[in-house]
Amino acid sequence: MQPDRVDLYRRMLRSRLVEQAIAVLWHQGRISGEMHLGIGEEGICAGVIDQLGDGDALALDHRGTAPLVMRGVDPAAVIAECLGLPAGLCGGMGGHMHLMSRDHLAAASGIVGAAGPMACGFALAHQHLRPGRVAVAFFGEGATNQGMLLEAFNLAVCWTLPVVFVCKDNGMAITTPSTKVTGGDLLERLRGFGMPAVPVDGSDVEAVWRASREAVDRARHGGGPSFLLARCVRPDGHFLGDALVEIARHPMRELGARAGPLARAAVGESGGSLFERAASLVSLTASIGRSAASQVVWRRDPVRKLRGRLDLGTAALEELEAGIEGEVQQAVRRAVAEGDAA
């Protein structure tokens, strides 16, 4: 079986445009609080979600907008939820971090790692009530150091739960480089739990599609859990306004206010040795450099990558894109109109 590229592209582009619209609304101040988007993760989400059917469950992290839109939730309801409107997916009660759709058996959480136990629970219910259905957990590589997620890996193996654990690895645990706070090799770690652990290029939706097809099939047929480690780049960093990204994008503006206190700290009395202080500055600079690198050339944009592989012909492709753009614009207009009316 081969993936339907056009259908995947449609899902990914729709999700990208919805999230870009949410970013605009956030920058306009129409959305309060934090905003964690999945821009850059579309290849992972689409490749996995394409395997799911009725009754399958999704346990999401704080980046739930893209997976839900791809799973078929009305984009207008997602946008309205981000705006905190009664017409929102959760009546404006949850916001973007706590999106839930009972109809889709999909629930997000803002607690890092919480998707693991949640997916195990969904899968346990499947064993009793919906044999043959699976649960997918989405989380970042930062979450793989969270106790509850590690416990969930073991639980899923012991109970042969139909779970697919999908790790979206952007290399940053919030704003700390993951290598700094993660011991060993993640794939080896997961294999140590007794489940298959497969690396995949998250920017290549077709590769994700193939890897997740195998994992989902395995879970569906009683083979228990597996783990996908899908690498990706998120140009917006952890959340909109991510300080490292802002410094990388506007070094003069962002560093100006920080420079004075930082310079004083570098020479302040009764601190660490010169060597320790220099090491700290080098480490901070490296973090900023990392964010800068994700800005310069975004070669691994999963949406653009798949677009290059479509053999639709320019006219048909443009028509497809115009159609999705129109659909998303209409969803945004509907949601914003609700807000203006309220």
Binding site: V112, G272, S280
Partner: protein, 338 residues
Amino acid sequence: MRTLTYAEAIEDALAQAMAADERVVTFGEDVHGLRMNLYTRFGEARVRPAPISEAAFVGAAVGAAMAGLRPVVEVMMVDFLAVAADAVFNHAAKVEGFSGGRWTAPMVIRCGCGGGYGDGGQHQQALWAWLAHVPGLKVVVPSTPADAGGLLTAAIADDGPVVFMEHKLLADDWRGYLGSGGRDTVAYDVPTAGREGEVPERWEATPLGEAVIRRAGDDLVIVGVGVGIHRGAEAAAVLAEGGCEATVLDLRGVRPLDREAIVEHARRTGRVLVVDEDYRDFGLSGEIAALLLEAGIGPAYARVCVDDTLPFAHDAERRALPNVERIVAAVQPWLAAT
């Protein structure tokens, strides 16, 4: 004297404590970036970024404290302390009791708390009563820069575990990090008196568990902590226009609780209004009612608290949090009766 923001006061007091005592170390998620100046000055050995493993690093703080360090461990928000609840409730809180007073865990848990910037019901809880419920813990909730620095100094010097709760509306580092994200298109109702203020050059410990009067009046006493006390003070100014003079009593923490001060002002004014951003049921407001009954006095009593899960929607969130209108409305029946 100099003027610092709430967040600067905390960082400054921590820097002074770290400079004075090499046993003071700090760790938590992203601290190298969030506490960039401390990280640069004191180096990574004393300012350590931690993995997203609250159960492990808060638990490690307990062990480190028992073995001679004075850790100031940071979890971004008190909501995340639920992930490390075992370390807090079953370990940090128990060391002194279990050892018959022979061993202690001198540690501080810093956490952001409170709402009003649109982060929803899983990231904006107050939860101080949940923590204060457990013997062996101290819980501090400063409402001004001077108190933040003074109470942190006391917390670090304390021989037991202290939870130090930084309201995210008052702390502009948290507000910028989590709320505005660098935008100038959003505005929050930040109490100016708590955001910035005069602080001493050298920090001295502000005793834990001592309430302070923010405003004096004879008609009622408004009791609370954190942003609640600023809302109470704003409401008191409104009430004063109608001739009702309120005392505003800032408890500055929840455990130890300044029971004497509460009883004294309840007795003097005959009316107690608790303003509490934490949940209404089984919390600080109920504890205050109980201690008044135990003291044998029965003042008029009312409370303005958070009654349910905090909504994300902006207007609903504003209505759910204690605000000036709710506080003034709670006092109205008393005014009507006089």
